[in-house]
């Protein structure tokens, strides 16, 4: 009887220690997940910001200015455009 009690006591203590360990591990993992989620959010926000920056570098107003000033280009009109017809048959 005493032996059984001792075995049970050891089992209870082991289980309790394991529970503490599992709790600890789960909190560590949860923290990592939190970090990852925060990073993902940060990256998404950064991505949005960069997209806006890219767009503001490529607005028609800016492109037109650069094309005219730096590349001496002019706006196309039908008088200087050649229209080609496309036919499906080979």
């Amino acid at each position: 009887m005493t032996r059984l009690n001792l075995i049970l006591l050891v089992a209870v203590i082991t289980s309790a220690m394991y529970l503490v360990h599992t709790q600890y591990a789960s909190r560590r993992l949860f923290q990592d997940l939190e970090h990852a989620t925060t990073d993902a959010h940060k990256l998404a926000v950064e991505n949005d910001g960069l997209e806006v920056q890219r767009r503001s570098k490529a607005t028609p107003l800016r492109i037109e200015k650069l094309a005219k000033m730096q590349l001496q280009m002019r706006t196309a009109n039908p008088a200087i455009t050649q229209y080609v017809t496309y036919s499906e048959s080979k």
């Binding site: 949860f30 923290q31 910001g49 997209e51 503001s56 607005t59 028609p60 706006t75 009109n77 039908p78």
Partner: protein, 577 residues
């Protein structure tokens, strides 16, 4: 020899312990246990809720989960508005260390004079003061690097508008609290804003989240909006308008571009405009979305509706001859003039040369009720079905109150008022085979279903007249483009000042469509108070129409329907107004 000690027989141990002592100890221990049991029962059963709460207060926190404001895109998926991080810098004045070089650096980073900064930090009683809201991320990093005690940053977001002033009136802007104040940002604020969520968590002593407790309310991000506006067309409309307003020394101007098939708004541009990100010293003049909020007497651009009604009811045909000599007509004592006498004109020519007398003579054959019904059906006097702040309905008085002279002036666009947007929409009657179609600011995939106002035959006949008006011998030949056939009507009106008309202040406009046989777009242009010598709609507004049509159709990939050789432009006929 060893001596053995008989403990049991020690006289010291021989005395017996009194029984009451052991009983006392047992009783004391028992009372102790009872005490513990009672306390345990109190904590776990009776006062459980209190202790549970107190425990939670000490280690759980509620975190707010802010929702992201939705983005706004143009019809091709290009970003028009998006939120970017913009930390706000705040301080606890009492805690801020008075280190002058560091404060100087802080002031420099915040782009404000040191005196202003010290003034903000003067009030020691305050526990919180904003130093600057919504600064750039890099500025916030610089400030953090200074390591100044008592100065903190709070995460906030601000809206960025890459298209700047060209798109300002359409997109609008939000305030520092991220609430829409103007334009689409205001109209669709509810959809864009989303709903913040929250979560309860357990934090460890380092402030790290280690566990979720209880229910989580996930944030609902705002919806992304895709507008019908094309940022390239919008840009061209803005650019051409701006150039025209500047070169004509005008006060302001607006352009509206509509898709003639779907009723989608492709562009709404106004000048003067503003940069949505820099709103210091903003004036009402810059802020007004004139195309929708300002009404004016449409003048000659109304004539096609009067003529359309007469054609539709079979009272005239395009070839019916109307005698407009001697260039004036008197109705109940008031005389209506043409700019000069034209003699006999066909109905087509009445529109082509924009004769007031011809239009009046046709209008006087019709009952006021019919004219009122047609004008109403074409959207005059009614709020446009577009969700936009400040869109006005204009004015169209009930026909019962019309006097004969008023019926006459209304036939050529005086005595009623409309916004430029209403004008543009009303012309869908001619472009869409006699149907007026609903307009939308949001991208629409299915074709628009309209309400029949005129028969398709009448619409085609009026289109032909509009083409003549924008051609040689018409009032708006400057509206012509290279490669695309156009049709439209110019308008010029004295501006109303107080109760009368100013003799030297004009409004010039042009409303038309292209290509004329199967219109793809409707463009309406208005220039307010041109004062560089020219003021006729056909000369001031028509060139803007021409350039906007040219660029828009090219951008939409519409194949030219005319020879693409450059055309010579003939001198415009002076219109009557």
């Amino acid at each position: 020899m060893t001596r053995s000690l008989q403990y049991t027989s020690s006289p010291l141990l021989a005395s017996r312990t009194p029984v009451w002592r052991s009983k006392f100890i047992v009783a004391a221990v028992a009372i102790g246990f009872f005490g513990l049991a009672a306390r345990a029962a109190y904590i776990q059963v009776i006062g459980n809720a209190f202790f549970q709460r107190q425990g939670e207060v000490r280690f759980t926190r509620t975190l707010a989960l802010p929702a992201n404001r939705g983005r706004i895109f143009d019809r091709n998926g290009l970003v028009l508005a998006s939120s970017v991080p913009a930390p706000s810098i705040w301080a606890i004045p009492e805690d801020v260390e008075r280190d002058k070089p560091k404060l100087q650096q802080l002031a420099k980073a915040l782009d404000m004079p040191l005196a202003d900064l010290t003034k903000k930090l003067e009030d020691d009683d305050k526990t919180f003061v904003w130093l600057k809201r919504q600064v750039d991320d890099t500025v916030a990093k610089q400030i953090a690097a200074l390591g100044l005690k008592g100065v903190y940053a709070r995460n906030e977001y601000k809206r960025e508008y890459p298209e700047g002033e060209a798109m300002a009136h359409v997109v609008g802007f939000t305030n520092v609290e991220d609430k829409g104040q103007e334009g689409v940002e205001l109209t669709f604020n509810k959809e864009l804003a989303g709903k913040a969520g929250s979560r309860r968590v357990i934090k460890d002593r380092f402030g790290r989240v280690v566990e979720d407790v209880g229910e989580q309310v996930p944030p609902v991000d705002g919806k992304d909006l895709t507008l019908s506006v094309d940022s390239k067309i919008q840009f061209f409309a803005y650019q051409k308008l701006r150039d025209a307003v500047i070169s004509n020394k005008a006060k302001a101007g607006s352009v509206v571009v509509l898709d003639a098939l779907s009723g989608e708004v492709l562009a709404v541009a106004n000048y003067p405009s503003y940069v949505p990100d820099k709103r210091k010293n903003l004036t009402g003049e810059q802020l007004r979305n004139r195309a929708l909020t300002d009404t004016f007497e449409p003048g000659s651009t109304m004539k096609p509706f009067t003529i359309g009604l007469a054609l539709d009811t079979g009272r005239v045909t395009p070839q019916t001859v109307i005698q407009t000599a001697p260039g004036s007509v008197t109705i109940t004592g008031s005389t209506i003039h043409d700019s000069h006498a034209h003699g006999p004109l066909t109905v087509e020519q009445v529109i082509q040369v924009s004769s007031n007398v011809g239009t009046t003579k046709i209008a006087m054959q019709m009952p006021a009720r019919e004219m009122w019904e047609t004008f109403s059906q074409a959207g005059f006097g009614q709020k446009p079905q577009i969700s936009f702040p400040g869109a006005v309905s204009g004015r169209l008085r009930p026909y019962k109150t019309w006097r004969p002279i008023e019926q006459a002036t209304m036939s050529y666009g005086y005595g009623l008022s409309a916004s430029l947007f209403q004008m543009a929409r009303s012309y869908t009657v001619f472009s869409h085979d006699g149907q007026i179609i609903p307009t939308t600011l949001l991208k629409r995939d299915e074709p628009a279903v309209g309400t029949q106002v005129f028969s398709p035959k009448t619409a085609a006949a009026v289109r032909k007249m509009l083409q003549m008006a924008a051609g040689p011998g018409g009032t708006g030949p400057l509206a012509q483009t290279v490669g695309y056939s156009v049709g439209g009507k110019s308008g010029t009106a004295h501006k109303q000042v107080g109760k009368g008309y100013a003799t030297n202040k004009y409004r010039s406009w042009f409303t038309g469509m292209a290509p004329i046989d199967k219109p793809r777009i409707i463009v309406a242009v208005m220039v307010d108070e041109p004062s560089a010598g020219q003021y006729f709609g056909g000369i001031v507004a028509a060139p803007v129409f021409s350039e906007v049509v040219q660029q828009s159709l090219r951008m939409m990939g519409v194949t030219p329907d005319m020879d693409v050789k450059p055309q010579t432009v003939v001198k415009a006929v002076e219109e009557s107004f």
